[in-house]
Symmetry: C2
Subunit: 118 residues, 2 copies
């Protein structure tokens, strides 16, 4: 019951997130936490793409890509627009781009020898 540990390192935020916030955050993270979906989102971080382009880039069967895109759509992370027989996907929130890049970045650092970052 003592505030143990070595020493208080920052006490910067101290904000208690609350269950709803945590659930929302976890829900978003669950969407990112699958290699194929992350790949699709990463592609979209470069700008809008059609399903064909996304499918080709991710290297998965069409139904699989479609299912994942459906999840992303239903969770509100991406937007769609129709152009002829193509459907063009795009990221809904620019904020997400930063999150995705931060994630890939982190993984990259972790793999290539763990340099404390710059």
């Amino acid at each position: 019951m003592l505030s143990a540990a070595t020493e208080p390192p920052s006490l910067v935020h101290e904000v208690e997130p609350g269950p709803e916030l945590l659930d929302a955050a976890a829900a978003t993270l669950r969407m990112l936490a699958e290699p194929t979906r992350l790949h699709l989102l990463w592609q979209l971080a470069n700008g809008p793409k059609t399903v064909s382009e996304l499918t080709a880039a991710a290297g998965v069967p069409r139904t699989v890509a479609s299912q994942h895109l459906a999840k992303l759509r239903h969770s509100g992370l991406v937007d769609t627009r129709k152009d002829g027989r193509n459907v063009i996907y795009s990221l809904r929130d620019g904020h997400l781009v930063r999150l995705i890049r931060e994630t890939i970045n982190h993984a990259d650092h972790q793999m290539t020898g763990e340099p404390t970052h710059s």
Copy 2:
């Protein structure tokens, strides 16, 4: 094979992540993508804590906290240190703090009125 969509918005990175990187990133995200675990990590973003402190903060039964902490340990996201009969957990990588805060931040924006732009 046409670079469809509206127009190329940035072409900044263009780097293809590759399966291993994506798997690694997804693995890390899976660790974050669970409300209790995210809560624990959020606590740790404020500095090292004992299991008791973490368990109390997260408001879950001890065994549950223990299982989640085990996962975090085994995935290398946290470090442990023993002090008497307490075990003190801490974040392994400072980079992770940014990722966690970015995530909570994103979720917060998304909840409090969706001011994402349209």
